[in-house]
Symmetry: C2
Subunit: 204 residues, 2 copies
Amino acid sequence: MARRTGRRPGNPDTREAILAAAREAFAERGFDAASIRAIAAGAGVDPALVHHYFGTKDQLFLAAMNSPIDPQQLIPQVWAGDRDQLGERLVRVFLGIWDSPAGAAAVALLRSAVSNEWTARLMREFVLTQVLRQVVKAAGIEPEEARIRVPLVGSQLVGLAMVRYIIKIEPFASTPTEALVAAVGPTVQRYLTDELPGVFDHLA
Amino acid sequence: MARRTGRRPGNPDTREAILAAAREAFAERGFDAASIRAIAAGAGVDPALVHHYFGTKDQLFLAAMNSPIDPQQLIPQVWAGDRDQLGERLVRVFLGIWDSPAGAAAVALLRSAVSNEWTARLMREFVLTQVLRQVVKAAGIEPEEARIRVPLVGSQLVGLAMVRYIIKIEPFASTPTEALVAAVGPTVQRYLTDELPGVFDHLA
């Protein structure tokens, strides 16, 4: 077995084989149906090695999609505080990722999700299983409503990233973060916690 | 000179040469600085032929970026009616484009803008010169504020298209249009016409 060295132990070829098998399994079968056992078999390694290299299935998934962030680590930051400022905090944390060194990985991921159907599938699984479930758990939003509320929030945040970091429309792209928090925070707040008449009728 | 046949007259090679020269000129110099004369020279044709094939510079620009829509034709549809329902009408018209046969071209354009720096530049010019100017003119929004308000609207609409038509997160992707109009319309309305405290401070 490979020597453990910091956060990325193991033989690079083995690591890559596991990540490739994981991407295929998560994109094809979805997060829940993809098993560590099947991913290990796909990579030709022992399941214990997958856990040893990547930890939990959630952590393997984040590694497989080159996620610049771990939602489980960010969500406490967003939820700590006044419920009325949830939207503002979420926008602030989100823009903070793009403005940090992780921003380059976020741009690459978004580009790939747009041009590549497989990455789009992984992104979908990411939103549904990593973000949606965390949000439902943390915010106590009704799960049926969360299936519309979370993509609404996602639509505003993804679009913000597109216009600011990819299409780069000025002066919007260089507008101070706090001006955007003031503009977009209330939108996100409304999508998460307001009543939204007419939006859930078709779910009934 | 080529025979006029319907909306796309002329020699296909000449048309393509003009469009290629136009894309380069608009992306490199921007819409305002790119002249029909320079584009014609780049394509090795007479400026009169450019007008003959494509009409105005605005029309040439829309053709060069394969725009599925002409904002000048859509804006009257959005602005006709109660100013309080501007946001709802804009979301309805926007989703209507994506759900129409032009939707495929819109998906292609968005994909290209994300993966290709040149298309991103054209998209930027498109938003700034075709959409922004029309909106300022039609809605009487203060031009300095419009430079933030219009990209805010753009961020919500582009993100909506991403989540619904490209990443396709269900059940959001198959949510009835009117449910999304009810959800997103007020956001767009607020970005266009509400006061937005704290958003414009840095412009002063």
